[in-house]
Amino acid sequence: MRRSALTGWLLLTPSLLLLGGLVVFPILYNVWLSLFNKHAFLPVQQFVGLGHYRYFSTDPEFWASFRHGVVYAGATMVLQIGVGVPAALLLNEAFRGRNLLRGIVLFPYMIPTIVAVILWKWLLNDSYGLVNHLLTTARLSDHAIPWLGPDYIMTSLIVTSVWQFFPFVVVTYLARLQTIPPELYEAATVDGASAWRRFVHVTLPQTASVLFVIVLLRSIWMFTKFDTVWLLAGEGGVSKYVRTLPVYAYARSFTYLQAGMGAALAVIMFVMLLVATAIYFQAFRGEETFA
């Protein structure tokens, strides 16, 4: 017994070493780094303890970035589900061209983020963009709307992100829909349930577990989303209006050249997500288990 346990540990050792080196060590190193005033590219550092954390607790930029992150993650998550779930329900029905449509729906998720952002920046440009052209041609607006200006940049960012990421919801939800036994719908229909009641009493309970995971994953991913935000507005004068925590952490590390502060922001985000996830699990534990 003892010998087999030893063999087991020996077999596990490579995996544990890999995990430790690739996952645990970077996290611990990041925590350690956050305790120093460390230049981004020079071996110049000074121990400051929890100084960076104290600084961020009263830093208006930090709180503005946090607010932007919450608005961005919340709005995009709700809209992705609002668009993705009906689309999945539609694609679960039998109709001609369904397979083609399933492929088309996946398209935004398949293209690289840089392409998606350039495409949307072109569409929304207020000098030559198609969106303004259509709006003015249809007389819905008498002037070009500055979609990429301060007043609309968050809206544009949310629209771009929802367009790019809602297919994930479609695919995941559709996969679960396809495993619901048809007998449940047949029984509900025999009992005289309308389409809406079938959705509420059959589909929703059956898909609650997958919705639980979608909300969790999409919230985390959108809260930590960097590339879309940075590419759309990161280097521009309007970045202030959509600066989320990952962008602020990047800026502290690589444009302010304060690696220690960037590390502290990463740790703060990590803790925030841990706490939010724990609360989420606690609040929805019941719903998660009944499916």
Binding site: A40, Y128, L148, P150, G237, K240, L257
Partner: protein
């Protein structure tokens, strides 16, 4: 199941073993012939420039040093800075690179640069234009040499201004009057680029320089973001804003050139001689000449005597960590060899104005077709140099080359946030300037650059 066309495991292993043996046998010879690589990074991304460097300086260098291969990489500003930071962090920077002058002091103070006095003397110290000679001069030694000079300025529709009977503006007030006159019929007077680097660093530096201000107090390094010159400049910028398209802050430098070419604006706020190529490709037929498009130097504010424009001119630098520093200096000697250097400058005429005073007026240099056609643009450059109308990018005064934190100030976006709030948000300049001042003081404190009490 019968195997029809497969390879047996035994045959596969024999084949693989034989291939490995052959490979290993050949390896010593290959190692013996290994060429050393000189890594050269620069910011001139035009294909014709890259090709010219390859065909002239690199070709001659590789002939002279047979064991070496030069690897040039052309990168945009932003990419270069990011890549440089990563390479320095890894302790493996290129042997030779372009640097923005506002980054040089920061790297010099960290003892990352090698002096190059011998090279400067060999090139002809007295022949190098004063506008660039001492930008990388610290404690009696040279730590860089500018590759070429290109002024930035407004590119205006000269014909539209002249139709209004208005002279080139000298002051902020003149510029506001010109903008009011040119904004009509759905056309805006001008457009500023929305990139943070320009609207949040390059232009505010020009505003300060042209209004008797500076980024920081020269002695204490305390930021001057809420000083009178900056407040006056912000007030000017806020008034200017109504003469440009609403969404400018979300658009880029090239968008402004497109807007100039298609007649949506009468002036592009940021332009250089590179714009000529754009005008020749995209402006309407019959307008692609200096009669219609001309540079316009910056106006000055109430506290300044002359408007200041940014001079685009990165310097070559050799790092202390460079693997082949001597060869890097040898490469530079070949780069500045007259025939190589003139060919290089001719790849983007006027934008790459030579640093050598003797060459700027050299008939061979001026014989270039584009310089001949666009001679008034060259003259603006030469006159601007004579009248001290240019400062390096991001400098508010000549001595800013000694500030080791300009790169961090630019990167922080503190100034950009202030400008966008004042111009686009219409906020009170004093309130925003005070906020920016507080943030800048905090930043300099964090960087260990606080000299005031």
């Amino acid at each position: 199941m019968a195997r029809k066309f497969g390879v047996s495991r035994r045959h596969f292993l024999i084949g693989a073993g034989a291939a490995t043996a052959v490979g290993l046998g050949a390896a010593p010879a290959a190692i013996g012939q290994q060429t050393r690589e000189l890594h050269v990074w620069h910011t001139e991304v035009e294909p014709q420039t890259v090709k010219t460097i390859q065909d002239t300086s690199i070709a001659e260098f590789e002939k002279k040093f047979p064991g070496f291969k030069v690897r040039q990489q052309a990168l945009g500003w932003g990419d270069l800075n990011t890549k440089l930071l990563a390479s320095l962090a890894a302790g493996n920077p290129p042997d030779l690179t372009h640097l923005n002058p506002f980054m040089t002091a920061s790297l010099y103070t960290k003892q990352l640069l090698r002096p190059m006095d011998e090279l400067i003397r060999a090139l002809g110290e007295s022949d190098i234009h004063e506008a660039t000679l001492k930008l990388q001069y610290f404690e009696g030694k040279y730590y860089g040499v500018t590759h070429a000079m290109g002024a930035t300025y407004f590119a205006e529709r000269r014909d539209l201004r002249e139709k209004k009977g208005i002279k080139p503006p000298e002051t902020y007030d003149d510029m506001l009057k010109l903008c009011a006159a040119l904004t009509e019929g759905g056309r805006y007077a001008f457009q500023m680029p929305g990139e943070k680097l320009y609207m949040g660093f390059v232009h505010p530096a020009e505003w300060l320089a042209g209004n008797g201000g500076s980024w920081v107090d020269p002695k204490t390094w305390r930021p001057n973001l809420n000083s009178k010159p900056m407040l006056e400049a912000l007030d000017y910028a806020q008034k200017l804003n109504k003469f440009q398209p609403q969404g400018w802050a979300g658009q880029k430098y090239l968008d402004t050139l497109a807007a100039l070419a298609n007649g949506k604006i009468a002036m592009a706020h940021l332009s250089g001689a590179r714009t000529i190529g754009y005008i020749e490709r995209y402006a309407p037929e019959g307008t692609r000449d200096p009669e219609h498009f001309m540079p316009l130097l910056r106006p000055h504010g109430p506290g300044g005597k002359v408007g200041i424009s940014a001079l685009d001119g990165e310097n070559w630098a050799v790092f202390t960590q460079s693997k082949y520093p001597n060869e890097a200096f040898e490469f530079l000697r070949l780069f500045y060899k007259k025939e190589h250097y003139m060919a290089y400058c001719h790849t983007v005429p006027i934008h790459l104005t030579p640093i050598f005073k003797s060459m700027i007026n050299d008939p061979a240099y001026l014989a270039n077709e584009r310089i001949k056609k666009w001679r008034p643009w060259h003259d603006v450059m030469v006159n601007g140099l004579k009248q001290n109308r240019f400062l390096p990018i991001g400098f508010s005064r000549p001595d800013d080359n000694l500030l080791p934190f300009l790169a961090e100030l630019d990167g922080s976006g503190i100034v950009a946030d202030m400008v966008v709030e004042v111009m686009v948000g219409g906020k009170n300049p004093k309130v925003e300037a005070d906020r920016a001042q507080k943030r800048a003081e905090e930043l300099l404190g964090q960087l260990g650059a606080k000299r005031w009490s």
